[in-house]
């Protein structure tokens, strides 16, 4: 029996060695938000090309940027674009830049718990900024009520809930508030976590949702994908053209299309508060961070191959997992950009 086990172990080890020698492992780390689709993509791509094995760790955008800068992973991923300081740090360390490749889009939606209310509430940018600044404190405030004619809003205090953990979701939400409110921009500004003027913190989408469920008269924000998959009701937000849009994948893609013309060459763009009457205003790309020079030619070819596949076939998996697809214009632009990876 013992001998058999020994043989088995040796056999397994041999298989592992042969298998490892034959396949190419590419390591990545970063954002948690796109993790489900990245996992799907990497497993589908592995089926297509069994020699290539991607290993992605969803450790968070900040950690992803840090690890790719330190050179401990082959690529990074982030929900917010790297800032100039981070780009410079990368350039200084490696002697060549790092490139951003948008992969899919996500959105952030306002969700709430107001007893006795049915149907979705409408939120203007002023209302959202006012609530999160702590200036609008009652649900029946004229700024909220003005956008919700005929809805019987209670005179209760609003309990504000935000994310307590650093997250891309918070980055997108505060980026939006910074664009629509000068006061927010100067007082709080945007980041993965900020110094909130008011409110309670919940850990993760599930923490925020849990707090909202437990707290009457509360408001919070979660990722669209999380709200959609868990049937959490959420409100519509007024976009730049004055239309109230309830977030869905079409509205998010429309937002990206609206900004596609102004897409900078490095793809580092914020698409919150875009133009376009169908566009949902609180949304963002999520990016893969790829070094411009990859010395290992096998790795370089595999990564480029994957990027090309991701822009073509890969996009087909987006909507079944509740992510919005990249608009055509962006796909075309990215396809060209892939060639600059050397």
């Amino acid at each position: 029996m013992k001998r058999f086990t020994g043989l088995l172990v040796a056999g397994l080890a041999l298989v592992a060695v042969v298998w490892a020698a034959d396949s190419l492992l590419i390591n990545g780390a970063g954002a948690t938000f796109p993790n489900p689709i990245y996992t799907k993509w990497f497993s589908e791509y592995h089926k297509k090309d069994p020699k290539i094995e991607f290993n992605y760790q969803s450790v968070g955008s900040g950690a992803g940027i840090k690890q790719v800068t330190d050179g401990t992973v082959d690529f990074g991923a982030s929900d917010g674009p790297m800032n100039d300081e981070q780009l410079k740090a990368y350039q200084d360390k490696h002697g060549f830049p790092i490139l951003h490749f948008p992969t899919v889009l996500g959105a952030v939606v306002p969700t709430y718990n107001v007893p006795g209310l049915s149907g979705a509430l409408n939120f203007t940018p002023e209302a959202l900024a006012g609530i999160y600044l702590g200036k609008i404190t009652k649900w029946n405030d004229p700024i909220i009520a003005g956008a919700n004619k005929g809805v019987n809003l209670p005179a209760n205090d609003i309990i504000v809930i935000h994310r307590s953990d650093g997250s891309g979701t918070t980055y997108v939400f505060t980026d939006y508030l910074s664009k629509v409110s000068d006061e927010w921009k100067s007082k709080v500004s945007k980041n993965t976590s900020v110094n909130w003027p008011v409110g309670l913190g919940g850990k993760g989408n599930e923490g925020v949702t849990g707090l909202i469920k437990q707290t009457p008269n509360s408001i919070g924000y979660v990722e669209l994908i999380y709200a959609a998959q868990n049937n959490i009701p959420y409100g519509a937000v007024k976009n730049k053209t004055g239309v109230f849009v309830k977030a869905d994948l079409k509205g998010v893609s429309a937002a990206a299309a609206g900004m596609a013309k102004d897409m900078p060459a490095d793809f580092r763009v914020s698409i919150t508060d875009p133009l376009g009457k169908d566009a949902y205003p609180i949304c963002s790309f999520t990016w893969l961070l790829i070094p411009q020079k990859i010395s290992d030619s096998a790795k370089r070819d595999s990564i480029k191959g994957f990027l090309k596949w991701m822009l073509a076939d890969g996009q087909g998996y987006a909507e079944q997992l509740d992510y919005a697809k990249l608009p055509k214009e962006v796909v075309e632009k990215e396809s060209k950009a892939i060639n600059s990876v050397q």
């Binding site: 900040g62 940027i65 300081e85 307590s164 953990d165 980041n191 110094n195 850990k203 849990g210 437990q214």
Partner: protein
């Protein structure tokens, strides 16, 4: 254990002058060396831990200095970091937890060790061990779904109506906050207090009890005036074990404390704790000053635990000198 086998060493062949080599062959010296190295790793780990925390928190130390401990702004955008609200939250939630857990835990331990029939005591001990082994995230979930609503609908009106004039019970309740975190922590540490205190009480020699009873003491008098003072050191130990757990608890606290870095006198107000903010913000911390400020918070938590443990030792020393003279 060592003293009970005096004949063991002389049973071997090398009896007379035990040279280093023969001791080595016997295994004594090897065992001594190996276990010594193992014991030293504890010291080494502690030193390394502090060293790493220290060198990785140089930036905030230079930029903020001692202000790090006295300011209460935590603003990752402006790169301003102050630890005060987190220190305050950690201390307050732990204090509330101990305030609730200590009388309950020790009372239960006394019942289990002194008054309950053996069978009941053993059965209950089984449940207590079970409770101690429950992962903290489970307590957090129970906190969110049971303690938080209970706090808002039952506990808050019950306390706020008669005692709302006191600053610590003033203001509205969101369900989450210092008191909620304290209650959840209390539930988590009670098993530790009961378990350790029970063991200590059970190990009090029978003579002590019999002597007290022989002098005409009642059962309760012998328990309260003789057995408990005799076991005081051990009971203190159980309390400090509980305190250490409460100070460092992360998951359960962050789920019910409200995660708001503010200092408020009211126990109903939301707050934050050191362990919770590190767990929340570390993965997405951007920029060296932000990351290092979080590491500095880790150092603060370490110091806090260290100081409180030191105080505990002193307290035990002082009380045992004055008290029953129990030594280990």
């Amino acid at each position: 254990m060592v003293t009970t086998s005096p004949t063991y060493g002389s049973a071997g062949p090398a009896v007379a002058p035990r040279s280093f080599l023969s001791k080595l062959r016997n295994g004594d010296e090897i065992a001594r060396l190996v276990t010594f190295v193992f014991a030293m790793t504890v010291v080494l780990l502690t030193v390394l831990l502090v060293y790493q925390l220290w060198i990785n928190s140089a930036l905030p130390r230079h930029k903020f200095g001692l202000h790090f401990f006295t300011t209460s702004v935590w603003d990752p955008v402006m790169d301003e970091f102050g630890a005060l609200p987190f220190i305050y939250g950690t201390l307050v939630t732990s204090a509330v937890a101990l305030f609730l857990a200590v009388p309950l835990g020790i009372g239960a331990a006394i019942f289990l060790a002194e008054l309950a029939p053996q069978r009941i005591s053993d059965t209950l001990q089984f449940f207590i061990d079970l409770l101690a082994a429950v992962p903290s995230v489970i307590y957090g979930v129970l906190g969110v779904f049971i303690v938080v609503p209970l706090m808002r609908t039952v506990i808050y009106p019950l306390i706020n109506k008669p005692l709302g004039f006191l600053p610590i019970f003033k203001g509205p309740s969101y369900g989450v906050g210092f008191l909620t975190a304290g209650i959840v922590l209390a539930i988590m540490v009670i098993p530790y207090i009961i378990s350790v205190s029970r063991e200590v009480l059970l190990s009090v020699p029978r003579d002590q009890r019999e002597a007290a009873l022989a002098l005409g003491a009642t059962r309760w008098e012998s328990t309260w005036k003789v057995v408990v003072p005799f076991a005081k050191t051990g009971i203190m130990g159980s309390i400090f074990l509980a305190l250490a757990r409460a100070l460092g608890e992360t998951m359960a606290v962050t789920m019910v404390v409200g995660n708001t870095p503010k200092i408020a006198a009211s126990l109903f107000a939301p707050g934050y704790s050191i362990a919770a903010v590190i767990a929340n913000e570390f993965t997405e911390a951007t920029g060296p000053l932000y990351t290092q400020s979080l590491i500095a918070l880790g150092l603060v938590l370490f110091l806090l635990t260290f100081v409180l443990n030191g105080l505990a030792r002193i307290l035990i020393l002082v009380t045992t000198q004055k008290g029953s003279g129990v030594t280990r």
